[in-house]
Amino acid sequence: MTPEIANTRLSDDAFAAERRGVLQSWPTGAAVDFGAGVARQQSLPESKRFSAALAQAHAEGRTLLQPRAGVALLREHTALMNGLSPHCDLLPTTVDAYTRLNRYEDAQTGIDRSRAVGTSLLNGFPAVNHGVDGCATLVDAVDKPIQVRHGTPDARLLAEITLSAGFSSYEGGGISYNIPYAKTVPLQDSIRHWQYCDRLVGRYEEHGIRINREPFGPLTGTLVPPFVSHVVAIVEGLLALEQGVRCLTLGYGQAGNMVQDIAAMRSLRKLAHHYFQDAGYDDYALSTVFHQWMGGFPEDEAQATAVICLGALAARQARVTKIIVKTPHEASGVPTLEANIAGLRATRQMVNMIADQARPDSADIAEEAEIIEAEVHAVMRRIYRLGRGDVAQGIVLAFEQGVMDVPFAPAQANAGSLIPVRDNRGAVRIFDPGNVPLPKDVLAFHRDKIGERAASEGREASFDMVVDDVRAISASKLIGRPAA
């Protein structure tokens, strides 16, 4: 069945009609006014514009740092942002998990109970409940560009509220904020809802306001082969460009093998330009973001800091524009301000120490990049074929048929047949491609690499090996070898 979706720009009428419903879906929507939002964005100083910070860093070859952080109450959240600000370049506002699922009443319960007990009981900042005024107060109170970071399949109201309050960057996408974050949301619904968000950003762009958009790169953060997240990033980029977005940051979550991670960042830039330009776009700004290790962390804070440092190193060696920074509390829970600062300081120190050092280059990196490119091309080709040229239709069908498949994803829209495992050097390889149409030689390459590991461990590759890999970093290893 052909999905009811197409990669075409939403018409002004359709958008307007939809908009009314969105703004009525929760009381705080009433305060949103597009003209006022534009005026407010115009009034922001350059120092609070995300796109400007990214452009400058890109031009100067610098790498910016951004933490994750969000708490339930406005005052506490503002204090948190201002505590982080001296240690980072870009501010986040991580949104709580109820808001992500549009459960604003539960979010309200969380706010109320947090007020009562005097500590945040929410895992993020419930921006919709705080409304335009609350968010604007926040934006006014901070001194750096600030972004909405979440995981929301239907993020339309959140976008309306936060952008009109002066946030200048918006994370997410119809695939990357569904597959890893949702269970039963149909993919075409989340894509359609994100077309709305992108169109909203496009409208700001048309009014001279550049809002940065960042598809969520790491997906499930767990043994995601680079080509998988690259395809998502490229497709979400294409969808965003079509709606008028012009400032994109594409992301990737550290896989742990440095050669593969550097190759991944290199190929991501190249592939994105390739597909964007093929689709006829040439007036966009592209930057990159590297997420420090997104899988399970070690509980010990010193060990966690080492994981953070390896990420900082790979990111800087790959010359990314931005790093999303983890904290030594990662394995335990939402970090304190202090833990967040520790992560930022360690990252800054590492980045600074290697900032001017030679950018690694080697035959391994080139080979790895070629593999990734071959994989992405194979899958993109099939997506376009499935969608008969329409990437929105294509991606929905691709997920339906397991042509695209994200490991360890909770979404029913995802097949879950692709099985990754590490090779003998720790690179993420394809143990079972499921239905993903990877070229034969590429699959043979993966098989050989996995074979090397199996031989060196004296055991067959199997799902046990995968489980060992998932738990390895927490157990102080990259590769889940059998106990010696």
């Binding site: 998990a97 109970r113 974050y181 499930t220 939402v334 909770p410």
Partner: protein, 160 residues
């Protein structure tokens, strides 16, 4: 005497973290325990309905994302309402927001009526051994032949 063990497994609330759930499923199944895995984003209602419908011996609730304190409260009462007040009830994961003192977290969830509470670093093999014993004990509540093993609380179930 040879009786099977059947448990309901799931991640409660609006929580999407599925990796631990998959690993728990695998570990329990490998140990010969029958697992009914409800996956992520499971409501209390769904847990209890499944437990009653399947005649399960235990419910293993995961909460990873931090809203456990809100999402997990009232579960024991809901089991009681549905006539399963006696079921073995475990909770585990990153149960509250932030890095909190474990003793407090454990007390909070024991208070809510969970029989045992586990941190992420739990040793699964030991947890499963304890689970069997807990289920056995409920089955022959009068016997209590090896209840001594449980007098001291659950620290041995934990890796740290």
């Amino acid at each position: 005497m040879e009786q099977g063990y059947k448990v309901i497994l799931g991640v409660i609330g609006s929580d999407c973290h599925v990796v631990g759930n998959r690993i728990l499923d695998r570990a329990l199944s490998d140990a010969g325990i029958k697992v009914v895995n409800l996956g992520v984003m499971v409501s209390q209602e769904e847990f209890v309905t499944a437990a009653v419908g399947e005649g399960a011996d235990a419910i293993l609730v995961s909460s990873i994302y931090g809203h456990g304190e809100i999402d997990c409260a009232g579960m024991r009462e809901r089991c009681e309402e549905r006539g399963a007040g006696d079921i073995v009830l475990y909770a585990g994961g990153n149960l509250v927001i932030g890095k909190k003192d474990w003793k407090e977290v454990e007390a909070l969830f024991l208070d809510m009526g969970y029989d045992r509470v586990f941190r992420p670093s739990v040793n699964l093999a030991e947890m499963i051994a304890g689970l069997r014993r807990d289920i056995d004990l409920r089955r022959v509540p009068q016997l209590g032949h090896n209840s001594a093993a449980f007098d001291t609380g659950a620290p041995f179930l934990d890796a740290r």
